[in-house]
């Protein structure tokens, strides 16, 4: 097990980084939505799936990957806005069960809908030619596309951080994640904020989907297991904490990657073991606030 070359290990760490970035995108959306709205968004995996399918569709229409990369998440985000405004909003004040049921039903509808629209056989699309090669990193050759995923996610995260810390809307979102009651008591209309948060969350999931597409293929069930792992990431990071989502996403990505490398049989369970360990030591996750949603 330990006669492993440093190069292979380093390559594996990089792969974990890529996977981690996808998790981060998903977890941030989930954490925002859960933290602010107490909504367990079971349909998050379906938004991820939708991003991949929209990406395929747009690529077919425009032939341009970069355009699809920008537009697909926007389309998913818009879809998310509609879902919030017309479905989730009605459940305000009813406690956490109803949104869970609603989004579960929604995910069934979305997965089956995708199958009906795009067929039962999966689809593939390729990264743009510019990224199709492998880059020599010195210790190993690594697919350029994956490096791109890391870069673009980092850029999006920086933009998101700027939005959350530098704008007024961002301030309200962060405050609302910490203490929704207080924010309303201050007279701020949370309705608009929820709309924005749900839209951003689903757009991020959609972005994760279109980024993952060229690496894994596009098929209706692709979001189903991702949703569970995303929840694990959010819990490990701490509900409502965005720094937590980032750290936990990368951590879980590395855990999956390295376990697959050293002990493939354990890779499915390792994620849960890590979660249990983290929760045992830090009851509210790595960066979560105690008392939040308990």
């Amino acid at each position: 097990m330990f006669d492993v070359s440093l190069a292979a290990l380093a390559a594996q760490v990089f792969t974990g980084l890529v996977l981690g970035m996808i998790f981060v995108l998903l977890a941030i959306g989930l954490s925002l939505i859960f933290g602010l709205m107490t909504v367990v968004n079971f349909a998050h995996g379906s938004f991820y799936m939708l991003g991949a399918y929209f990406g395929f569709f747009l690529l077919g229409r425009t032939g341009n990957f970069w355009v699809s990369l920008v537009v697909a998440p926007l389309m998913v985000g818009t879809f998310g806005l509609l879902i919030e405004r017309f479905l989730v909003r009605r459940l305000y004040g009813r406690g956490p069960d109803d949104p869970l049921l609603l989004t579960f039903g929604l995910s069934l509808v979305m997965v089956e809908g995708a199958r009906m629209i795009w067929g039962k056989i999966g689809l593939t699309f390729d990264p743009p030619r510019a990224l199709a090669s492998a880059v020599d990193l010195g210790f190993t050759r690594f697919p350029a596309y994956r490096l791109f995923v890391i870069a673009i996610t980092a850029a999006v995260l920086v933009a998101l951080w700027a939005f959350l810390t530098r704008t007024d809307v961002g301030l309200v979102i962060r405050a609302g994640s910490r203490d929704p009651l207080m924010v309303r008591a201050l007279g701020i209309d949370l309705g608009r904020i929820w709309l924005i948060v749900f839209g951003i969350g689903s757009a991020l999931a959609g972005l994760a989907g279109i980024l993952a597409g060229p690496m894994r293929g596009v098929y209706a069930e692709m979001g189903v297991t991702m949703v569970i792992e995303s929840f694990v990431v959010v819990v490990v990071g701490g509900m409502g904490s965005l720094l937590g989502a980032v750290v936990a996403g990368l951590l879980i990505g590395e855990v999956v990657s390295l376990t697959t490398f050293f002990a493939p049989k354990l890779s499915e369970i390792m994620v849960f073991v890590v979660m249990a360990l983290v929760l045992l030591i830090r009851p509210s996750g790595l960066f979560g606030e105690p008392g939040l949603l308990e």
């Binding site: 292979a8 390559a11 792969t15 593939t124 596309y145």
Partner: protein
């Protein structure tokens, strides 16, 4: 007995005698129903669709000829959701409520076995139509359990032998860590060793988590001649994408135990060119095989598309049920099973097949295929026949090895 009761009895008796032939006729005009659980929803829906169409074609052909024993044939297709509990439930429903006399079906090994438990319990004939090593062995098999499809042992021995003799004897194996993957891995390694080859390494991965970039550099460094991969369904697409992005197709040959047509279509020549694998049936066999020609033409005529792989199993199994009923002149399951064992040879879509008596296993030809660089002859011209592996009982375990006879 007074006059009234005498009259009542006699009238009733007379009525019964007059009605009896009508009753008999009504009974014998009852359709023969074959239940068919299949995963119509879920990741293998495309294969299930093919199964459904194969079954429907068989039923149409039978009814066009006047049915079986003068009775119409019906196939009742139900969604088993790829879950054993649902498969078992549907089977119970088909037998109990819909009064099916026979069951054909199953796509996943674990679902087949759950269906089998129910058919064994209800003493109904079951012909399983997808891969499984256990279904024809102890303790799962029974005198009423028949297995129409290929199994991992047969497929991997055939593929392993051909690949070792034609592509290279130094392999690396990647396999999904569950029953099907492990079975194929075991058989492939055994086959290779017997032919004097070497397994440079074997890497399991968790099914449904297709992240291979960890292993690929290691595999490249080991320089195998052949990379064998048991990566079913969507995992196969992910695997090929990743392997190609590492440039591995140039360095080694790719082979797998089975080609699946929906996956080949999904990945297209870009992913599947030069990938070798076995298949039970491919529509282009119509050019050289008269049974195949008949089947392909009939399927094309009805569905406007060439037949796939798994549909043919369903087609054949339904026709076998019919043949058994005709031979036994009865719809009683054990009689039909005995009739099939007594007359084991048949040919419905690709050539001679036969049932082995001790385990009710169907032996049949299979073909080695290779993915084409470019489609030929339309959007389904994805694979090319490379070699035929004739039916051979030595490709499977012996009945003794299966715990039978």
């Amino acid at each position: 007995m007074n006059r009234r009761s005498f009259l009542t009895t006699t009238t009733a008796g007379a009525a019964a005698v007059i009605a009896f032939p009508a009753v008999l006729k009504a009974q014998s005009k009852d359709p023969i129903r074959i239940g068919f659980p299949s995963p119509l929803t879920g990741p293998f829906a495309a294969l299930a669709d093919d199964q459904k169409r194969g079954a429907e074609l068989a039923v149409d052909e039978l009814n066009a000829k006047g049915g079986i024993l003068g009775r119409k044939v019906e196939v009742l297709i139900r969604d088993d959701q790829l879950k054993p509990a649902v498969g078992a439930q549907r089977t119970q429903e088909l037998i109990e409520k819909d009064r099916c006399q026979f069951i054909v079906g199953g796509l996943a090994a674990h679902v087949q076995m759950a269906i089998n438990e129910q058919t064994k319990k209800s003493k109904v004939l079951f012909i399983s139509v997808s891969q499984s090593d256990e279904i024809s062995a102890k303790p799962d098999t029974s005198p009423l359990t028949f297995h129409e499809a290929l199994n991992p042992t047969i497929t991997s021995r055939a593929v392993g032998t051909w690949v070792a003799q034609n592509l290279g004897k130094k392999w690396w194996i990647i396999y999904a860590d569950y029953a099907w993957g492990k079975q194929n891995n075991a058989v492939l390694q055994d086959t290779l060793k017997k032919l004097g080859g070497t397994v440079l390494g074997a890497t399991p991965y968790p099914l449904g988590n297709p992240e291979f970039s960890a292993h690929l550099p290691k595999i490249q460094a080991a320089k195998p001649e052949v990379l064998m991969h048991m990566t079913p369904g969507a995992d196969d697409i992910a695997f090929l994408k990743q392997a190609i992005s590492f440039g591995m197709k140039k360095d080694m040959k790719f082979a797998k135990p089975l080609h699946w047509i929906p996956q080949a279509k999904e990945g297209g020549p870009e992913l599947y060119s030069d990938v070798y694998g076995a298949i039970n049936f491919y529509w282009e066999l119509q050019d050289s095989n008269p049974s195949a020609k008949r089947y392909v033409e009939a399927y094309r005529k009805k569905f406007n598309t060439p037949p796939g792989d798994y549909g043919a199993y369903a087609y054949s199994a339904i026709l076998e049920v019919a043949r058994g009923v005709e031979l036994a002149k009865s719809t009683e399951s054990m009689a039909v099973a005995d009739a099939l064992r007594a007359n084991p040879v048949y040919d419905h879509y690709k050539g001679k097949q036969w049932w082995r008596k001790c385990d009710n296993k169907s032996f049949q030809d299979l073909w080695m295929m290779k993915g084409r660089d470019k489609l030929k002859g339309g959007e389904w011209g994805l694979l090319e026949v490379v070699a035929k592996v004739p039916a051979n009982e030595e490709l499977d375990r012996t009945c003794a090895e299966k715990g039978l006879a």
